[in-house]
């Protein structure tokens, strides 16, 4: 199996006035294609920070992240946008859907950004079909015209996953996708992720719950800014 993403010597420090907070202290990690990895650790151990760095949503102070052997720190702004848009799909702990748009539009947004205004029209049909398929699979086919605030937490999280998958990224990064949900709803989300992984999707999931982590093939434990 090929390594899809690897991180070496990742450091991240936050400065809060006088004091500094070292969150990640030279962390190494490697994930193979097709794996379902769970990152666990106590609250505040830096799980989200790590995932953000992997998704190029934040910058590490030291160390590098390689996606398919290429250092993402060397990416130009344009390449970085392409990476965020097409190579990884990010699912946030707090969903982060756009309230102005309905469910379908939220899911379509990354695809619109990918193809641009002109390309969008020629691809519209196939992309819409894919979005509908994803929403159908997640049991949201009859909610496409709803606004995010009209949905439950679990439904919003599924919309967020559909949005993350619309451009068929090689890598899905999910930050506590079940964190705000009751165990039953959370279980539903996990099933979705397992299904996706079954279809060959690489998944990195963050959680602080060992039970949930046990659903992954590989569990990475984070403590004191390093993997233990």
């Amino acid at each position: 199996m090929d390594t899809i993403i690897s991180a070496t010597g990742i450091c991240k420090t936050y400065k809060l006035g006088q004091s500094t907070l070292e969150v990640l202290k030279g962390l190494d990690l490697s994930v193979n294609e097709g794996e379902f990895v769970a990152i666990v650790g106590a609250s505040g151990s830096g799980k989200s920070t790590l995932l953000h760095i992997l998704g190029a949503l934040d910058k590490a102070d030291a160390g590098n992240v390689r996606y398919k052997q290429r250092d993402i720190a060397s990416f130009s702004q344009k390449k970085l946008n392409l990476y965020r848009n097409g190579s990884v799909g990010f699912v946030f702990q707090f969903y982060h859907l756009l309230d102005e748009l309905n469910v379908l539009e939220n899911v379509l947004l990354p695809a619109m950004a990918k193809h641009g205004t002109i390309g969008w029209f020629s691809h519209k049909k196939s992309i819409k079909a894919r979005a509908m398929e994803l929403l159908h699979r997640f049991g949201l086919a009859d909610r496409i015209k709803h606004r995010p605030y009209q949905l439950s937490g679990g439904e919003r999280q599924r919309v967020a996953i559909a949005r993350a998958l619309i451009n068929q990224p090689k890598l899905l990064l999910a930050d506590e996708p079940t964190g705000n949900l009751d165990s039953e709803t959370g279980n539903g989300i996990l099933k979705v992720l397992e299904q996706l992984n079954g279809d060959g999707q690489t998944v990195i999931m963050v959680t602080h719950d060992d039970n949930i982590a046990s659903r992954g093939h590989k569990i990475i434990r984070l403590a004191d800014g390093k993997i233990v």
Binding site: H52, G55, L57, D58, K59, Q77, K78, L80, N81, L82, Y83, R84, N85, G86, F90, F92, F94, H96, L97, L98, E100, L109, P110, A113, K114, R163
Partner: protein
Amino acid sequence: MLKRRITILAIASIALCVFITLVVMTVHNGIVNEFKGKNHRFAGDCVVSTDSLVGFTYYEDFLAELRAKPFVFAAAPAIKSFGLLNQPGSDINIGIEITGIEPGEFSRATGFGKTLYYNRLQPQDAFAHNYDKNLPGCVVGIIMMQGGTDKSGKYHHSSFRSRYEFSISCFPLTAKGALAKMSTGLVNSKTFIYADDSHTQIPKVDSKMIYIPFHFAQKLCGMDGPDKRVNAIHIKFAENTSVSEGTEKVKALWQSFLQKNDDKKYANLLQNVTVQKWTDFRRSSIAPMEKEQTMLLMLFIMLGFITVFIIFVVFYMIISHKSKDIGILKSIGISAISIVNIFLAFAFLVGAIGSLVGAVCGWAFVSKANDIEAWLFEEYGWQLWDRSVYAIGAIPDQVQINVVTLIVISAVAASLLGALIPSIQAARKTPVEILQVNQL
């Protein structure tokens, strides 16, 4: 995003700012222009005059020279003096200003004819009347004649002109500046009959001025000797000659006229004569207005700044509100430039809609303001300003295209600027920096 209440509020606030600025600027511009127009009509384009009551000689030669020039449309001499007015049978004398004119020619050189009531259409007959044919007519300033207007700002005229007699006295001066009648009682008096009134809308003029026929004035003032004198020549230029251009030409003409006549007996009187544009001639009247105008201009600049600032703040707040969305858009790989563009397009739309709404409302309001005011007065007797106190006939309603354009462009520019700064700020951050702040 366009449907949101905050957007509607933004559009409304921009519309309001544009509306207020437009209305205030239009009204102010209108008042200034109206005021200048009155003074322009009163003086003509250019005035050749002397401050001395003695006047100047050889004016007929200069008039002939002027009238021969194609750039001169009309040139009219005038006698200007001060005198006392007395109604026969009363012992009250009031101080007045006398202007002696040939009404036809004077009306061609100035707007005098249009200030008349009965003879507006035939100003050459301004002094005609139906009473004693031996007595000349006079035109009396409307405020002097009627005291003032009623509350709606109107003067009233009956179709029938009653007989009013005015006895006008003044001190004639010799060409040397001495009182002419040292031995015989000093004053010249003459009785005139009311023929019409003159409404220049300049209160200082309308309350003091009496126009009388030229040769009677010349005689009253002792200026009719063998070397006849006048105090002023009013000139109107031909259509294609600008005021400054024409005035320069008249100045040159006057210089050569001075040289030609410098060996004549009363050449010294010509030395005191100045050639002025109407704006300079009416300087003392216009200057206070202009001072006020610079002050108002300051206020406008402040109003403009406030407007631009309000619009700026509106957008700043909308977009700051939207920074979470910016973080989301960035996290799915939309470029900073596209994000800024989205917000600029939004700002442009809101700014354009808002300022157009404001401009249209302002336009409609200004052009209907007089009707609205008239209606309020009729229905409720309520008046924005008392016409008998202020010398303003109507609320100005001429909206200037360039003013509108300037206001709309500034408003849209302010919208864009207000949107640009926060969206660039947000677009430069990493997605996490934006999102973390907003998830709390």
